[in-house]
């Protein structure tokens, strides 16, 4: 099971639409393989700092910052596939 965390702030207009598209990709791969968590950056700023998030939105996969802005659907898909291949 891999963990996808999306760091953004509530009310971020540009994030909402893009996040829905990306979440759909993750769900397509299978909810038994991927957990998706929306992280409110204002509530979990210490955690965001710990992962090295310098701006929002950003995406971490399995606790590692992978995208410092929202990626294209293809790039997220590739990153998830790569991570799934390494996950026992």
């Amino acid at each position: 099971m891999i963990k996808v965390e999306v760091f953004s702030s509530p009310g971020c207009g540009k994030c909402t639409q893009a996040k829905m598209v990306l979440k759909a990709i993750a769900e397509e791969i299978g909810q038994d393989k991927i957990t998706w968590r929306d992280v409110n950056i204002l509530e979990e700023m210490d955690y965001a700092v710990e992962l090295g998030v310098m701006s929002s939105p950003a995406i971490a996969i399995d606790g590692k910052l992978i995208f410092s802005s929202l990626p294209s659907a293809a790039k997220l898909r590739a990153a998830l596939d790569k991570q799934l291949a390494h996950t026992p």
Binding site: S9, C12, G13, I41, L42, M45, A48, V49, S55, S56
Partner: protein, 149 residues
């Protein structure tokens, strides 16, 4: 009707508690422009400049760099932008500050450790454990650097 009052750079500096040099620098950086110049070439500013300088000062107090203040001023004057765009800039700034605070805490902790190992203030300088620890850690770093080559 009375014409709006114009300020020389000196008066503007006095009214906003910003130095004349800083005002000229902001002008060079494109953050502020005089509304007109006198025949002799002296800059004249209106009340908008006073408001803008106060805005710049306040934003600097919140940690914004001049480049970021320029971005905020652009958003302020953009019809397409709205409050959430400004909020997003503020959130990113807060995030950057949180990173800096963390880095400072790590530095402070390193100093606490150094201060703790120096338990005898009367020691001669060549036995100072703080200086020794700094030299050792620098040598260690150099060694690590060489091993990567």
């Amino acid at each position: 009707m009375k014409a709006p009052a114009l300020h020389t750079i000196g008066k503007l500096a006095l009214a906003t508690d910003v130095t004349s040099d800083a005002i000229r620098y902001y002008e060079k950086e494109g953050l502020l422009t005089p509304i007109t110049k006198t025949g002799a070439g002296y800059r004249l500013y209106n009340e908008d400049a006073v408001r803008r300088l106060r805005f710049i000062k306040q934003a600097q107090h919140c940690g914004f760099s001049l480049a970021e203040i320029r971005e905020l001023l652009t958003l302020k004057n953009s019809d397409a932008a709205c409050c959430k765009d400004v909020r997003s800039v503020a959130i990113d700034k807060k995030l950057q500050l949180a990173h800096k605070i963390k880095a400072l805490q790590i530095m402070s902790q390193a100093l606490t450790e150094l201060i703790t190992i120096c338990n005898d203030e009367a020691r001669p300088l060549d036995e100072c454990p703080i200086l020794a620890a700094l030299e050792t850690s620098m040598a260690d770093k150099r060694k690590k650097g060489t091993s990567h080559d």
